[in-house]
Symmetry: C2
Subunit: 125 residues, 2 copies
């Protein structure tokens, strides 16, 4: 596939593909939840403990969205006290690859970006 065909994947259909995925996992917590569930089946509280700073409300919302999109399964055990386990689906696991690629890019380029921001801010008072 040529370079042009590749960027067409982004621009295709007026950017619908990118827009769709960013609407799904472009928010503050989704990719973090997915990465945290990689290879592990975790309960609500465990998930919350492993994701510093996330509130109960936002964790609930995030896992609900991920469940609706078919990226995460939510299993309720009929016990007292209640137990709920979250796990990645097969589709959810396939997201890890692209997400890691993006994270690698972020880590590699953060220094350059911050440098650019600093000089931009210096020149634009």
């Amino acid at each position: 596939m040529s370079r042009y065909e590749k960027t067409c994947l982004i621009r295709g259909d007026g950017g619908r593909a990118i827009r769709g995925i960013l609407d799904r996992v472009g928010d503050k917590w989704s990719l973090l939840v997915v990465a945290t569930l990689d290879g592990a089946s975790l309960r609500f509280t465990e998930l919350q403990q492993r994701i510093p700073g996330i509130s109960q409300r936002m964790l609930t919302r995030t896992v609900r969205h991920l469940e609706r999109d078919g990226l995460v399964t939510r299993t309720v055990f009929a016990e007292v006290p209640p137990r709920v386990e979250y796990e990645l689906t097969a589709m959810g696991r396939t997201l890890i690859g692209p997400a890691v690629a993006l994270a690698e890019w972020a880590v590699d380029n953060n220094p350059g970006i911050e440098e650019s921001q600093a000089s931009y801010d210096a020149e634009h008072p």
Copy 2:
């Protein structure tokens, strides 16, 4: 690098890396602008014409952010009428790869996601 080390790239530092990149290009238009500038030097109006639906204001804001982050160069020609050309920087071009990977994932999995959403919505009235 092991799978675990990979997801650490996402979760590392409390998710700072992912958070940083999504704050940068996780908005509605940034990746679309980057993809549109791939391999082309374009003027403001050309850019706007190739990105259906973007307003003058949002295009201005988006290219300014990308310029500040060092992903795009903005070249002003001292002419009348004014001419401004936008181009990807070397760093900007390196973003295309990971972005395309994400777009590919989006295209491949959109059917599955929409199916999951439909059945979720059916079961949760």
